[in-house]
């Protein structure tokens, strides 16, 4: 019982690491650009599929991670530049438009990669099991994922809090017009942040595809988890994305273990509580 509880905790934290990759990009692009991009889940799926093809062709998992992310930078830039920009700050229009984009991406991916569950091949040294104290075997890949999530989290946090670029982005989140008025090219900043968000989503697809597998519909499942992370943490907040990812990851793991038929329902709890006491999420503000 206790061992299972510990294992579920590791499951939850590794899912949290994956969700953080997706939610951090979502929340930062909302914070800075006020863009709600529902195609984020589709970026995840497409990045995963592209990484899968790269991994199969070259045999390199690292190349797959970078390639999947890089491909999504291009896709994301085009969609942002030619479609999302045209909606201004109308969130309703953005949501409908990006849902449409996600449908197109999902259907095209289905035509190319088919409807089966595909797993991104992880290299040998990442596979296999770790033997935990008490003779418990646990897949090593999950720890790799936690490591990846923590590494990205620390890097993002340093970038956001300790560099000049991060300071400019934070200033942009607070007051975009003012930043623009001081002579900083906010437009270029937007491109950089949305590129980063796209890269993280694509990379998350490859990383997630190696243990959750890739299949049509995965884009919505992962997106909803990321949305709950963002709702719980608060839109536009990096700390919120970290804490939110941990809460959602752990709740999901314990939910699946204790209430398998209602595991999705477990996610409802924190949102309902938040709505009663903190409608803006833990670290959110009014938008």
């Amino acid at each position: 019982m206790l061992t299972s509880a510990v294992l579920q905790a590791i499951n939850g934290i590794s899912l949290a690491a994956l969700l953080f990759l997706l939610a951090s990009g979502f929340t930062l692009s909302f914070g800075l650009m006020r863009v709600v991009n529902m195609a984020h889940g589709a970026y995840y799926l497409l990045g995963g599929y592209i990484g899968l093809t790269i991994a199969e062709k070259t045999g390199s998992f690292a190349l797959a991670l970078v390639g999947g992310g890089a491909a999504i930078i291009v896709v994301g830039y085009l969609i942002d530049r030619f479609l999302i920009r045209r909606t201004g700050e109308n969130h309703l229009a953005q949501v409908l438009l990006t849902v449409g984009v996600a449908f197109v991406i999902g259907d095209v991916a289905l035509a190319i990669w088919g409807g089966d569950n595909l797993m991104v091949p992880a290299p040998k040294f990442l596979k296999g099991a770790v033997i935990l104290p008490g003779d418990v075997y646990y897949p090593r890949y999950r720890f790799v994922l936690i490591f990846l999530g923590v590494a990205v989290g620390v890097a993002l946090w340093l970038l956001y809090k300790k560099t000049q670029l991060g300071a400019v982005v934070r200033a942009g989140v607070d007051d975009r017009e003012q930043v623009n008025a001081t002579g900083i090219n906010v437009d270029r900043l937007f491109v950089m942040v949305s590129g980063l968000a796209s890269f993280l989503a694509g990379m998350a697809g490859v990383a997630g595809g190696a243990f959750l597998t890739l299949y049509p519909g995965a884009e919505w499942e992962i997106l909803v988890y990321a949305l709950v992370v963002v709702i719980v943490g608060g839109l536009g907040s990096l700390e919120g994305a970290m804490i939110g990812a941990l809460i959602v990851g752990l709740l999901d793991a314990y939910g699946r273990w204790l209430l398998p038929e209602f595991s999705y329902f477990v996610l409802f709890g924190p949102i309902a509580l938040l709505m009663l006491f903190r409608p803006r999420g833990l670290f959110g503000r009014e938008y």
């Binding site: 909302f30 709600v36 479609l83 045209r86 909606t87 969130h91 309703l92 229009a93 949501v95 409908l96 438009l97 849902v99 449409g100 984009v101 996600a102 449908f103 197109v104 991406i105 999902g106 259907d107 095209v108 289905l110 035509a111 919505w220 909803v224 949305l227 709950v228 963002v230 709702i231 839109l235 398998p260 038929e261 209602f262 595991s263 999705y264 329902f265 996610l267 409802f268 949102i271 309902a272 709505m275 009663l276 409608p279 803006r280 999420g281 959110g284 938008y287």
Partner: protein
Amino acid sequence: MDRGRAVLAAVALAAALALPSAAGPFWTGLVTQMYIFGLLALSVDLLLGHAGLFSLTHASFFAVSAYTVAILQVRYAVPTALAAPAGILAGTLLALLFGLAVRTRGVYFILITIAFGYVVWGVAHRWSSFTGGDNGVTNVPFPALGAAAITSHTQYYYLVLAAVIVCGLGYRVFMRSPFGLGLRGIKASESRMQSLGFRTSAHLYAAFVLSGALASFAGVLYVYYNKFVNPVAASFPVSVEAALMAIVGGTGTIIGPFLGAAVVLGLRNWVSSFFELHAAVMGAVFIATVLWAPQGLVGIAGRLRARFGKAKERTP
């Protein structure tokens, strides 16, 4: 209602009545679906077009009510007279719970309703001992009230038509009532309505529950038409397509959601007969609507009429 509109309504009604004998079973079935999904789109538009809230969880009420009816009728042989109201009640109870979402506005409201919708889909999908999992509940009979039973799709078509007309008229009365006007006021300026002494959150909550009840009614009509219900009915695409229908047709009107349902379902039916990527085509419709027709068909018609009307004035 002016004379032109009355004539138009009479022609539309005559066409609707003549359709089953004139067009055959395929079109009768398709148009029945258009009515049912139009009603779902109308329920979404009650919030979107009148209160300015963009809900993406309406498939939940639709599906919960459809599941309730299906399970009661198929497993417990409960008669329609009890099963149908129970379905509407179940969907409305869920709306009472999900109505909590009106504590938030804007993006948060959209995101939270998406998450809610997903919870319902998840339960329908996972709780297979009760919901039948991916297979859902099958073999739902036609509705029957005592000796009066529906026995064919044509008869059911007329039942749905009558239900849609009653709902449309009721909706019209409701939207012109002080309550409906209050909603429009909140959409235009919530802070001003608050300073006028309206409890806007209570107002929006009531509208949310009412909208959920209407979506539940659409769910009842759906399950008797479809004969089965599975988790697809609760899925996110159903919610978002209902919103799309309302927008394609024109929000804030009664006819708009039905026109939108006709366009969306008609297009999907047509495209899927020759093109495999029909989900991508639906996606393109979303994109095109947002970029080029945000006011929907009713908006385009209004623009055309304005231009045409002006041209007539200039050349008397």
